[in-house]
C-alpha cells in the first residue's frame, strides 16, 4: 500500500541518520522540496547518491548533512562550481566528505544493476582514466565468451530513493515524463521509494511507453506543488536559470550561504512558505 503523507512525515519516516539516499532527477524534476525538508530535520552522516549533485546536494553538504557522496559530475550546470561541495572537498567544511566518484555511464550501469538486484554493473568504460586509480570500487571483469576486459562497478541500492514527479493517482501509481534521466533505475534500485508530486489525480491515462512507477513499488507519495523549483517540472513550470546563476553568488561564501539557508529554508515551515519567501527576495 502506498502511503499518502505530508512531506515532513515522509522524511521523518524514511530518512534516518546515516542512511544511503538518492535524490535523483537529471536537471529536470529534482526533488528540492524533499532536500530542504531533510535540512530542516537536520539529518546527519548521510551517504548521498546522485549523478549530478546540483544545487540540492550543495545545500545538503553545506548544511552538514552528508559524510559521503557517490556522484559523476558535481557542478552548477552552465554556471560553474558548486561552492559548498568544493569547500567540503578542499577544506573539509563543515565536515569532510568522502568521495565515491564515477562517470555518468558507470553510474547508469550501477543503477541498472541495482534495479535488477544484480551485484554489479558492467560497461565498456573507464578507459584511460585515472578514476580507476583513485576509486578502488571501479574494477574489471573478463567476458567469459570473448575474454574482453570490461569495467565493473558495484550495484547502487539506496536505502531510499526520493524523486519528484508530475502526477500520482489515488492508488499511488506515479507518472513522470520529459527528461527522465536515470530516475526509473534509481527508483527500482532502492529499498524504499518516496515521491513528491505536482498533482494527485483520480486516475492516470493508460501509459504505453512513458514512465509509470506502479503503486506497489512506491512506498510514499507527498503532494508538493512546485517541489522541483528551482529545477523544473515539464508541463508545469520552467527551470529558473536566473536562480541557478544567482546561486553562484549565494553559495560562494560560507556566511552568505548560511544566511540564505537560514532565511529561506530553515525559516520556512514547508515548501509553500519557502517559495513565498523568495518572492521579491531576488
Amino acid at each position: 500500500m502506498t502511503q499518502f503523507l505530508p512531506l515532513a512525515a515522509a522524511i521523518e519516516e524514511y530518512v534516518a541518520d546515516g542512511a544511503c539516499i538518492a535524490l535523483e532527477g537529471f536537471t529536470h524534476l529534482i526533488p528540492f522540496a524533499a532536500g530542504h525538508e531533510i535540512v530542516r530535520q537536520a539529518r546527519r552522516r548521510l551517504h548521498l547518491v546522485r549523478m549530478t549533485p546540483d544545487l540540492v546536494y550543495d545545500q545538503l553538504i553545506g548544511m552538514g548533512c552528508a559524510s559521503r557522496l557517490t556522484f559523476s559530475w558535481g557542478g552548477n550546470p552552465g554556471v560553474g562550481s558548486l561552492h559548498r561541495l568544493r569547500d567540503a572537498v578542499e577544506k573539509g567544511w563543515p565536515s569532510p566528505l568522502e568521495l565515491d566518484e564515477h562517470t555518468h555511464a558507470g553510474m547508469a550501469a550501477a543503477y541498472c544493476a541495482g534495479a535488477a538486484r544484480l551485484p554489479f554493473g558492467m560497461l565498456r568504460g573507464y578507459i584511460g582514466t585515472d578514476l580507476t586509480e583513485v576509486n578502488p570500487r571501479i574494477r574489471s571483469v573478463e567476458c567469459p565468451f570473448t575474454g574482453e576486459r570490461l569495467a565493473a562497478v558495484p550495484a547502487i541500492n539506496p536505502d531510499v530513493t526520493i524523486l519528484h514527479a508530475q502526477r500520482a493517482d489515488r492508488e499511488g501509481n506515479v507518472a513522470l515524463s520529459g527528461i527522465v534521466g536515470a530516475q526509473r533505475e534509481a527508483a527500482l534500485a532502492a529499498r524504499s521509494l518516496v515521491i513528491t508530486v505536482e498533482e494527485i489525480v483520480e486516475s492516470l491515462p493508460p501509459a504505453m511507453n512513458s514512465i509509470v512507477l506502479p503503486h506497489w513499488v512506491v512506498h510514499a507519495v507527498a503532494h508538493c506543488p512546485g517541489g522541483a523549483y528551482p529545477a523544473y517540472a515539464q508541463g508545469y513550470y520552467g527551470r529558473d536559470n536566473a536562480f541557478y546563476q544567482r546561486w553562484d553568488g549565494i553559495a560562494r561564501e560560507r556566511e552568505g550561504f548560511q544566511a540564505w539557508m537560514q532565511r529561506h529554508v530553515l525559516g520556512s515551515r514547508d515548501h509553500r512558505e519557502f517559495l513565498a519567501s523568495l518572492e521579491g527576495a531576488a
Binding site: F26, T27, H28, M51, F71, S72, W73, G74, G75, P77, G78, V79, S81, L82, R86, V89, E90, E101, H102, T103, H104, A105, A108, A109, C112, L123, R124, G125, Y126, I127, G128, T129, D130, L131, V134, R149, G178, I179, V180, G181, R184, E185, E198, I211, P225, G226, Y229, Y232, Q234, Y236, Y237, G238, R239, D240, N241, A242, F243, Y244, Q245, L275
Partner: protein, 261 residues
C-alpha cells in the same frame, strides 16, 4: 568582415568542422553554441544529442544546463539516460563527441577532475560526467579549450578522459573504440594529431593569429604541421546567426519563472 571576438571565431571554426546529418554528442557551453550554429547555417540535418537523453533536439535558445526543458520540447525523442550511454554512445552510434576541459596535454588527454592532488585538491572541478566514455566511444572527438600555459600543460594533474594516452598506438591498445581527438579548437586556431606520434600540432591559424602566439600559449614545445592552414574570418551570416542565438538565449534566461498557483 571585421569586428569579431576570438570567442566568436572559435565557435565559428568549430561549427564549420561539423557536417550535415552528422550525429553529434554535445557538451554544454561553447560546444553547444558551435553545434547549434552549424545547425542554423550549413548543417540543418545535424542530429544533436545531449546526455540528458534528448535526441535530434533543435533548441531555439541555447540551454544553460544539459537538461533544460527547451531540449526536450524540441527533440525528436527523449530516452532514459542509461540508453543514451549504452545503446547509442557505447554502441558506436555517435559520429562526433564535443568536449571541453580544464587541462589538455600534448596527446589530447583531458582533465576535468582536479587541479592539484586528488585527495587534497587545490581546486575541485566538476568531474567526468559523460566525458570519459564520450572520449572513448564517439567515432571522433573535437575539443574546445582556450590556450594558456595553465590549460595546455606538459603534464595533467589528473587524466579524466583519454586522448591518445601516451601517443603512438597506445590508444588503439586501450580498448577505446573511437578515433580520439581529431581537432582541438582553441583561441588562436586548431591543433590536430600527427598521424604517427599522435602528438597535437598546429594545423591552422585564425586570420590574425601567429605561430609565435600559438607557441607562447602552449605549455609544451608545440610542433608545427608541414602546412599550416589559414582559417577564414567569420562570414557576415555566421556572425549574425551566432549573435542572434546568444541574444535570444540571454533574453530567455532572464525571463522570470512563474510557478502555478
Amino acid at each position: 568582415m571585421s569586428g569579431y571576438t576570438r570567442d566568436e571565431m572559435m565557435t565559428v571554426a568549430a561549427a564549420r568542422l561539423l557536417w550535415d546529418r552528422c550525429v553529434c554528442f554535445v557538451g554544454i557551453g561553447q560546444p553547444s553554441a558551435a553545434c547549434n550554429l552549424a545547425r542554423l547555417t550549413h548543417a540543418p540535418g545535424i542530429v544533436l544529442i545531449y546526455e540528458s537523453g534528448t535526441i535530434g533536439t533543435r533548441p531555439d535558445v541555447l540551454p544553460l544546463s544539459i537538461g533544460d526543458g527547451e531540449l526536450a520540447e524540441t527533440a525528436s525523442c527523449v530516452v532514459p539516460l542509461p540508453e543514451i550511454f549504452s545503446y547509442y554512445l557505447q554502441a558506436g552510434r555517435v559520429d562526433v563527441g564535443f568536449l571541453g576541459a580544464a587541462q589538455i596535454d600534448r596527446y589530447g588527454n583531458l582533465n576535468s577532475t582536479v587541479i592539484g592532488d586528488y585527495d587534497a585538491p587545490a581546486t575541485r572541478l566538476p568531474g567526468a560526467g559523460g566525458a570519459t566514455e564520450i572520449a572513448a566511444h564517439a567515432r571522433s572527438t573535437f575539443v574546445m579549450l582556450k590556450a594558456t600555459r595553465r590549460s595546455f600543460v606538459e603534464r595533467l594533474d589528473f587524466r579524466t578522459s583519454a586522448g591518445f594516452l601516451e601517443g603512438g598506438d597506445s590508444r588503439e591498445l586501450s580498448g577505446a573504440t573511437g578515433a580520439g581527438p581529431v581537432s582541438v579548437i582553441t583561441d588562436f586556431g586548431v591543433l590536430a594529431p600527427d598521424p604517427q606520434s599522435r602528438e597535437l600540432q598546429l594545423s591552422a591559424l585564425f586570420p590574425d593569429a601567429t605561430v609565435e602566439e600559438a607557441r607562447a600559449a602552449v605549455g609544451w614545445p608545440l610542433g608545427i604541421a608541414a602546412e599550416v592552414g589559414r582559417i577564414e574570418a567569420p562570414s557576415a551570416a555566421e556572425l549574425a546567426t551566432l549573435r542572434e542565438l546568444h541574444a535570444r538565449t540571454r533574453a530567455a534566461h532572464a525571463r522570470p519563472v512563474h510557478l502555478p498557483a
